[in-house]
């Protein structure tokens, strides 16, 4: 186990996994609360266009992906809020437009499908030192805002009308949640890939919900599970020679299945136990 820490590429991979594993569920909890669990998927697709734009222009794909995904996040929130387009239709347009734009621009840039695959499915073992810095800075930004603004973001996601009457800037914070989701996707892009990033935002939250009774506990437990899944996935992929992205997501899914089974069994035990017993 400690042997893998001797390799600089694994050190970088594990660092990226730590920030990804914490940041993705930190913002994902708000998306699930808002019933926008699939937003991450839509933004992941549009981030692909950002990556392709980077390949075409020679700019850092991570930065172009952040810019394009954040712009997409603002657009979808504005469309949703204006009521002109339903949330799922706006998401569908992002899916199609993002994939089409990404593949088209990658082709124009003369890049191979293998390059695109690095971003679609993650390539954590090729993460450079500068990548780690970008992931760390963006990850800390997402984590800090998710925790410092917890009462306000929770209110916006839980009861938007009440939050508005209370003076919370619901429009601004709605956009902030979407933009933080876009930033998180870019953070997680090199770890789990754009196609699987949404899983790391949603599955740890779903798993945590099986055992928690409060929003705060769900938020924190989901972050813990995300961390375990991301780091565990990187380690397992090294030991088992599997791809890190899918390994991370499958570990998160296993955690969900185990938590759900424990909940069902515990529920049955409680029902069987005679009334009054302790």
């Amino acid at each position: 186990m400690l042997e893998l820490l001797q390799y600089p590429f694994m050190q970088r991979a594990l660092l990226a996994a730590v920030f990804t594993g914490l940041a993705a569920p930190a913002i994902g909890t708000y998306l699930v609360q808002r019933r926008l669990a699939l937003l991450g998927d839509g933004l992941g697709h549009i981030a692909l266009t950002g990556v392709a734009l980077g390949l075409l222009t020679g700019w850092a794909p991570t930065l172009t992906a952040v810019a394009v995904a954040a712009a997409g996040a603002v657009l979808i929130e504005v469309l949703r809020r204006s009521g002109r387009t339903s949330g799922d239709v706006a998401l569908a347009m992002l899916f199609y437009g993002g994939i089409a734009g990404g593949v088209l621009l990658t082709g124009l840039a003369g890049a191979s499908a293998a390059v695109l695959n690095r971003f679609l499915f993650g390539s954590i073992t090729t993460v450079s030192s500068s990548d780690v810095w970008v992931v760390a800075v963006l990850g800390v930004l997402v984590l800090t805002l998710s925790l410092v603004l917890a009462p306000q973001l929770f209110a916006v996601c839980q009861d938007e009308e009440h939050a508005k009457v209370s003076g919370v800037p619901v429009g601004l914070y709605g956009i902030l949640i979407a933009v933080l989701a876009a930033v998180t996707i870019t953070v997680a892009m090199r770890t789990v890939g754009l196609l699987l990033v949404s899983a790391l935002m949603v599955v740890p939250v779903a798993a945590a919900q099986q055992a928690t009774r409060s929003f705060r506990a769900t938020h924190l437990v989901a972050m813990g599970l995300g961390l375990v899944a991301a780091v565990g996935g990187v380690v397992t992929s090294y030991e088992a020679d599997t791809q890190p992205g899918p390994t991370i997501v499958l570990i998160a899914l296993v955690a969900f299945v185990v938590a759900a089974l424990v909940r069902v069994v515990a529920g049955r035990v409680r029902r069987v136990r005679p009334v009054g017993s302790t």
Binding site: T29, V32, Q33, R34, R35, A37, V148, L149, A150, P151, Q152, F154, A155, C157, Q158, D159, E160, E161, H162, A163, K164, V165, S166, G167, V168, P169, V205, Q209, T212, R213, S214, F215, R216, T218, H219
Partner: protein, 257 residues
């Protein structure tokens, strides 16, 4: 306080308020005032515009006309800690479980709407408000595990937790049993006695009746009656029975929404 006849500033004043929703008129030329220490109940059949009126009053639906909170036009009103709002039915999204305490703490947000975590004073106020609605033992219970009536009481506690000067409540007794409606009536009586202004939508007066300062009856989106609640019967729809009702002018083309 002096007995000089200086009229208290209205906590809430609406005059000539129109609301259109989806291109349809739902409220026309509505007006009312609620002053400090008054409990004003808004009555009327389903679709008469009661909810639209209170939602307009707190800025949740666009409207024309005059709406003032404590003398300040709604668009410029910033002192949100003076306003408490209880929605008609739970708008609480349940994607992730939240405890009663977490929901009620939302009522303290006007004190730090942009930035700031809940502190011990917020948690204390939330616990007191939950106790006030008789749910002290459910503070850590997930909101979704409560009955509809209990959820409604949690939303009332959320509004009370901030100790507002004006409380706007859209059918707070919907789904709440008689015992807890009586408890709410006592709570509202205490609040108005201490100077809080309350505007409340209800289907009937029930246990609230002895504490009501004034009833306002809406019909077809217009104020059909405003005055003492003695003239208002609880049975069936709230048709005012008074010798001198406010004239009701039908709006051309409008039916019962």
């Amino acid at each position: 306080m002096s007995d000089d006849a200086v009229p208290a500033q209205a906590a809430l004043r609406l005059a000539g308020v129109d609301v259109d929703l989806g291109g349809r008129p739902v409220l026309r030329d509505a007006g009312l005032e609620v002053r400090s220490g008054e409990l004003v109940v808004l009555l009327g059949p389903n679709g008469s515009g009661k909810s639209s009126l209170v939602r307009a009053a707190v800025g949740l639906v666009p409207s024309t006309g005059t709406i003032e909170l404590f003398g300040t036009p709604l668009a410029r009103f910033r002192d949100r800690r003076r306003l408490g709002y209880v929605p008609q039915r739970s708008g609480v999204t349940v994607g992730v479980p939240a405890t009663v305490r977490e929901v009620v703490l939302g009522g303290r947000l006007p004190r730090h709407p942009v930035l700031g975590l809940h502190g011990p004073a917020d948690r204390r106020a939330a616990a007191e408000a939950v106790e006030r609605v008789g749910l002290a033992d459910r503070l850590r219970t997930p909101f979704t595990e409560l009955s509809g009536g209990q959820q409604q009481r949690v939303l009332i506690a959320r509004a009370l937790s901030n100790d507002p000067d004006l409380l706007v409540m859209d059918e707070p007794t919907a789904g709440v049993d008689r015992e807890h409606t009586e408890q709410l009536a006592e709570t509202l009586a205490d609040l108005t006695a201490s100077g809080t202004a309350v505007l409340l939508v209800a289907h009937d007066l029930g246990p609230l009746r002895p504490h009501v300062t004034r009833a306002v009856v809406l019909e077809h989106g217009r104020v059909a009656y405003a005055g003492p609640c003695d003239a208002v019967h609880d049975e069936g729809h709230q048709h005012p029975h008074t010798s001198d009702p406010a004239p009701v002018t039908p709006v051309p083309g409008e039916g019962v929404w």
